[in-house]
Every structure is written in C-alpha cells, then in structure tokens.
Symmetry: C2
C-alpha cells in the first residue's frame, strides 16, 4: 500500500475518532498539574501517572525517572515529579525518533480573567478552551493518538519511538538537563532524530517548522551608594545617589531603534548570507496582525523580512526593571541605597556568551570611568543560555515538510523563534542528532495567557501531520 | 524678680522633677498611637484623650475638633482622630503663642530590628528609647511640663498659649490644613507667634533654630508602549519598549554632580547674597559625621558651606524608582507595557511650582521630539508643596536665641532643613505671623528608625529653653 493510500485511511480514522481525542484531552486538562504551585505537586504526580497508564495501554515500555528534590520556601524540599522515559518499538532496522513534551501547565484561575473554568475543557466555535490545551497536553496526546490509530488500523508502526515527558517545564525544567546528560550513552544513544511539538505557528493559518531559537544573557547591574536608604529631603543634592548612576548606565545600552550600543556586540553576529535571506521571502507574515497581537501602534522595522530578522537572527536588548528602588503606587521620597538594574540580551549565531559578558563589563566600566561617582558598581551575567539553530534542509526537516504538504497542501514556512527553549539545545548536544520543532498550534492559542485554547482543526491536522511524518522518517 | 533669678528657680525645679517627666513620657510612649495602622485607630484616640486630660488638669481649655473621615482600603472609611485645640490664658496684655505638635507616631515592631520593646520607654546610658520619644511626644510633653512647673512655682505664666495638637502627622496630616483655614478668623486670629518643636538639631551637641524648609514637587513620568506586557523573546528587537524611553528620559534629568539638567530650573533660585552667606560660616557641622550618618564614602561637595547650601537653599532632584517594571528578585524576561518613573525636585526660594511644572513638561517634550518613538509619554506633577523660609532675625528668633544662650551658654546655629514640614507654611499663611522651628532633639535620635531615642539631657534642656523662651517672648 502506498503512503497516500494509508494516509487516506489514517486521516479518515483520525477524523472518525475526533470525539475520543477531545474526551482524552478533556481528561488531561481536568488534572490541574501546575508545576509552579508546590501545594499542587500531587496533581502533577497524578498527571504523570495518568499518562504512564495511557502509554502502557498503548504498549509503550515506561520507566519513571526520579530527578531529585526541589527547594521551596522556608528551606523546605519537595519531590520533583518523575520524568517519563518511554520506549515503543526496538527494531534495529527502523529509525528511532525521540519525542519530547511536557505534562505540567502554567498557573490558572478564573479570577485571572478566564471566561471559562480553566481546568474544564470547554468547546466554543471549534476551539477547545482550557489550561494546557495547546501547551503542551494537546500536542503530547496527539503523538499518542497517532500511535493508537496505527494500532487500530493494524498498521505496523514505521519507526521506533522514545518518549521523554517532563513535568517541570513551566518552572525551569529542574533536573531535566542533568538527567539527559546521564542518559547520553544509554537511553539517548540510539536516537536518530528528536522532535518537539511545544511551540506555535507564526500566524493563525499557515503551518511552519522552526529551525532556530535565540539564546539569552540576563544581566544584573548593581549600584550601591550608602549603607541605608536615605530621605531625599535630608540628603538630596549632596550625595551620589545610586539611582542616578544606574539610570545613566541603563540609558547607554540601547537606542530608540532597538540598536544595542555596547561596543563590539554585533561583531560576532553571523553575516546574512543570500541563502538565509532567501528563507525569509516566502514566509507568510501579517505585520498588522503582529502589531495587533502585541498591542502596539507600529513596529520599529517596516518590512516583513526586517521584522522577522530582528525577532530571530539579530540580538536585542530589553530593560526589564529595577530591584531595590521604589516600585509602589503613590509617592515615596526615598533615596534607595542599593539598586539592581535588570536587562537581558537575546543572543544569536555566532555570538559567544563569554565574549558578550566581557563586552558588557567593559562597557559599564568605561561609562563609570567618565562619571565622577564613588559608588560601587558591578555587572554580573546572572544567567546565560545559548542560541540554537538547525539546518532547515536536514532530512528530518524535509520529511516534516512532506508530511505538512500531505495534510495542508502547502509547504510550511521555515521559521525561528525569538525566545529560548533551552532543552532543545540539550537534546541536540546529548544525542548529536538533528532536532525538529514541529508546532501544531496557532499563534493566538495564548499558551501562558487567560483563555488558552487549541483549535479542533489544528488538533486534528496536527495528528495527521505527525502520522505522515513517521512514514516519511521511515523512508530516510 | 529678674529673669535670671526665676530661670535659676525654674531650672532647679525642672531638674528636681526629672523622674516625673520621664514617667510621663513613659506613659505616653506606652500608647501605640500609630496613625498609619487603621486597626490601631482606637490607640490614637486613646492618646488624644490621655493628652486632653493632662491639658485639662493644667487648666487648659480643650476643644476636640472633628476633621472628618479617612478612606482606607476597600472603600471603607474610619474616623480621623480629633485635633486638640487648647487655650491657656486669655490676657489681652500678653502675647499669644501657638504651639503645634503631634501625638501620633510612626509604625514600630520589635521585628523591624528594635533592641527594646518600641512601646516601652527604656532608659539606657542616659537615653530614653521608645517610639515617639523624640517624635513628637517628648517635645509635646516638654511644653506641658513647663506650664506645670510655672504653676508649681506659683509663677504667673508670661504669655497666653494656644495648642494645636494633631494625630495624623505621620500619615499626611489629613484634615489639618482645612481645619486651620477654617480657624483663620477665630482660633488663629489673635495668635502672635507660632512655635513648632518637631525637628532635630544639625548635629548631636549644638542647639539650633531652623528658619527654612525646602518644598517638593513630585513627578510621575508615564510611558506606555502596548496594551499588554510582552515577552522579550517574542517581541524584543521589533517594538519600541516603554522602558527604553523611560530610562532614556530619566537619564536626562540630573548629572553625576547632582546638577539638574532641566533648562531654566535654576533661573528662579534666589541669588546667594553676602548676608545669607554669612549665616553659614558660624554653623558647626561635621562633614565626616554627616557621611557616616548617611553611610556614604563622600559627599558631592567638599566644603561645609557648600554641603549645607545644597541641602537647604539649592534645589535637588532624586530618582526614586519605577512603577510597573519588574522589581522582584531573580530574572523575568518581561517587556512591561506601562511604566511610571517617579522623581522629585526639592524646591527653594524663589522657585514657583507652576513654573517648574512647565519646565519639566517642556523638557520631556523636547527629549521625546528627538526620539523616534510612537509611545505615549506624559509627565504629571503628582504633588507640589512650597518651600518655607522665615527671617532668622525676627523678634521671635531673637527671643529663642536668648533662651538658648541662657540654657546652653552658646548661640544656637541658624539652620534650615532640606525636607518639608508642609504645615509650617500653612501656619504662617493662616496666622500671617512668624513661625519658629525650635528643635530640642539631636540629629541621631532616629525619628523614623528603629531604636528611636530621646536623650534625657536634651529632654531637660529642651524644657529649660522653652521656659526661658516664654519669658523672652513676654518682653517683646
């Protein structure tokens, strides 16, 4: 039987079972597995157990991996939820695909502004509203539904599958990186491809594959002027205030066009080669919709290509705020003694974190040399996460493109994300293999917002793409 | 009997009753009349009643003036504490002195870092520790102790006294300004001098009289970039971030020498005339102790006179903080949608609030004209309070100087304060008479801090100065 014939059967079977899949997602959403709420940890564990049962019912061999303890308030510790390691098939003749996903969700309460109960999956106008519907319970269940469909159709599964399903993704993936490193020569050693469905299309209509993520370097800029907070009436005008230095320093970092003013920052940025530039041309991107989604009047750049490049392949610097200054409502006439400016730089190929750290330090030192201030100033790289980029012409990407065409009738856009999914890079490093980001949700799904939703059409088409993707992988 | 003879008797009498005065202060401190804690309002009322009884025992005619309600959280309202209006003596042949003071105190808890119970007056090494000991229960009781001493010595009181004792001073003196305006042609109409003992010496040893206060203009600088907070990964590099504009604007306000960079701000500042300059020369001021009190390494200015002038007679600008930005510990990659920079300018003679407001608005507009940003920017004078300055050669000041010499054997320094006591100006305006600030506490009393204290020697000498002051006033 040709691919197309089986695809026809598979797609029909999936369509015929839409109700079951919605019910399954509803069951998953009903478990409030919020990883950020320690008092809900038992619900996260319940979600892990529920998923384990489902996997086992499908014949997946499951191991629960203990990744240790989490420190919470008051020095207390609680167990981190186990990571599910699943193995489905062990045929040396087949490719092995590792699927990563997560079972925990962002916090949600009706009082945050939800129109429905966040943990009751609610269908309205073809959309399934509920916390975790699109991030990431829907995509995780899609993979499982596809395996079930193959079984129900008595079709041999075309690849071996490994699962790595964690439940702390929304709270920093604590323990996962160490676990993956420890699995490098065992569980991960025979993986051929890694696929992750935990991101979103660029828009609402057109599917895409993502081949890059920006990294992030988060800096703390620390200024201290005195041993205690002072009253601006008593001391204003006579002492070197920490805020004056901090604000002056922060104002030298980025200009009104988003251009970073730190000497040398752009030196390591990969030049834009014609081949890469070509990738941007066919991308469907509605700049007006983007403005409307952000709630801004206009973007810095006018052209589609320029906007996308500044999201994905150029660094950016954001000033997030100040710790230690007056941040309340109303008026307070304090001279804060110790303030910490927070800013981050999104990094891109081929920027090196160590280089950037030195450039930022040098920049701050140079500015302070010009200022007559005795205040203690220091800048610290609080957290550095590397960028990630894959070759969009890698066979896995070609396979996913074919699968997309088979379902949607169009080539997916080849895009990147401006943010970070640090675990992507870890998978690439620990397997040494290609990683594919295969989003199936739309840009307006509202992953971390109120009224998170997953369109039924995307749930269904996502499964179809996944089903076709396995066949294409088998051909490589 | 000459002044000196009576002073000798008075001072001895006061010294002989030191224990009683400490006990009286202890009783007052034991009432936790914290005006900032609505749930403690009954304690504030108890303090008002306790003082009323004491005044009445001394023969002062007391009226409790209802100044209305205070709005607290959740739209609730509670009664403001009554203001005590007292009248002691009504002899047309005598001068009438109005004494202002307050009976409420700042919040205090042992857990704030007190070494003793804040509401138990505790004597250690000649110091009386307790909340309100120096601010302002000690000074208020000093006036009453002096009246009592005159009575016990069977000495006719040399002046008529009026009292205005409020109990919301530490929380904005709500209701008091309106009350004073309403009393202009009645209770306040026959007042000859106003005296306030609610401030502190410049140092720890040498008494001073204060003839000036800076005013304050508090500004909110508002920048809005979008309708919702954004993720710096998704949007960083493509939109005009509110923080970039705000930090840039805030950095144009003041330089590293404390010089205000707003065009025209210094135009209305009174020129320094030789006569005023002379006032600074004899002032005892330890610049090292000042640095140590502030906890700074060094001040902007080196010379004593320059430091004092920049505290008292030149404007200063402080950047207090930002509302709406990320202010927590750790890292958050938010692009805040709406941020409000808070800064204030201390104003001095002859700056006009209306002029300053216009200059600030124009400055912000000019900077924004140069920036290519579509963001909504506005600046608002949130609160404006005028400076106050009196003639240090006014007869009342001469009287207080003589009284100080009689007790301390030295001329008091003639000083100002860098902060504001807004009610000072109201008293001057509503009585049309000279107002004297007569501090009796030391600079290290820690009025709003942990371990607030009042030195016994200052309590005793303060009463003596007050006793002698009344006699000097009678001679005018």
């Amino acid at each position: 039987m040709s691919n197309n014939d089986f695809n026809t059967r598979l797609f029909k079977h999936l369509d015929d079972h839409q109700k079951d899949y919605i019910q399954r997602l509803s069951d998953a959403v009903s478990i409030p597995s919020v990883s950020a709420w320690p008092e809900h940890r038992h619900e996260v564990v319940r979600m892990v157990d529920w998923t384990k049962s489902l996997l086992e019912k499908l014949g997946v061999k499951v191991e629960l991996s203990d990744v240790g303890k989490q420190k919470i308030a008051d020095g207390k510790e609680i167990d981190l939820p186990n990571v599910i390691l699943g193995t489905y098939g062990n045929d040396k003749a087949k490719k092995t695909v590792l699927i990563y996903g997560h079972l925990d969700v962002q916090p949600a309460q009706v009082s945050d502004g939800w129109d429905t109960e966040p943990f009751v999956l609610t269908e309205k106008n073809g959309k399934l509203f509920g916390r975790g519907s699109t991030d990431d319970k829907g995509p995780v269940l899609s993979w499982l539904n596809v395996i079930e469909a193959y079984q129900q159709l008595n079709e041999p599964f075309p690849v071996n599958v490994k699962f790595c399903l964690e439940s702390m993704e929304e709270y920093g993936s604590e323990g996962l990186e160490d676990l993956l490193k420890s699995l490098k020569n065992t569980f991960l050693s025979d993986v051929d491809f890694v696929v992750i469905s935990d991101s979103y299309w660029l828009g609402k209509e057109k599917p895409c594959l993502q081949y890059g993520l920006r990294g992030i370097c988060y800096f703390f800029l620390d200024v201290e002027c005195s041993t205690k907070d002072l009253h601006s009436g008593c001391f204003g005008g006579t002492i070197h205030e920490a805020m004056t230095d901090l604000i002056a320093l922060m104002s030298t970092l980025v200009d009104d066009q988003g251009h970073i003013l730190i000497d040398g920052v752009y030196d390591e940025v990969a030049p834009l080669l014609p081949e890469e530039e070509q990738l941007y041309k066919p991308i469907t991107f509605d700049t007006k919709a983007y403005c409307s989604e952000a709630g801004v009047e206009k973007t810095i750049q006018k052209e589609k290509e320029q906007i996308l490049m500044h999201r994905w392949r150029y660094p950016s610097l954001s000033l997030h705020g100040i710790q230690g200054a007056f941040d309340g409502v109303g008026c307070k006439t304090v001279i804060p003694r110790h303030v910490i400016g927070k800013f981050s730089i999104r990094i891109v190929p081929n920027m090196k974190i160590a280089t950037l750290e030195k450039l930022v330090e040098k920049h701050i030192q140079n500015i302070m040399k010009e200022r007559k201030s005795p205040n203690k100033v220091s800048v610290k790289l609080e957290h550095g996460g590397d960028y990630w980029v894959a070759d969009p012409n890698n066979p896995q990407y070609i396979a996913a493109r074919k699968a997309t065409v088979a379902v949607h009738g169009i080539e997916p856009d080849l895009t990147r994300e401006g943010g970070s999914i640090p675990i992507t890079l870890t998978f690439q490093e620990q397997t040494g293999k290609n990683v594919l980001l295969l989003p199936i949700g739309a840009s307006d799904d509202g992953a971390h917002s109120q009224n998170e939703k997953f369109d039924i059409i995307n749930y269904m088409n996502g499964m179809k793409v996944m089903g076709a993707y396995f066949q294409e992988i088998a051909k490589l």
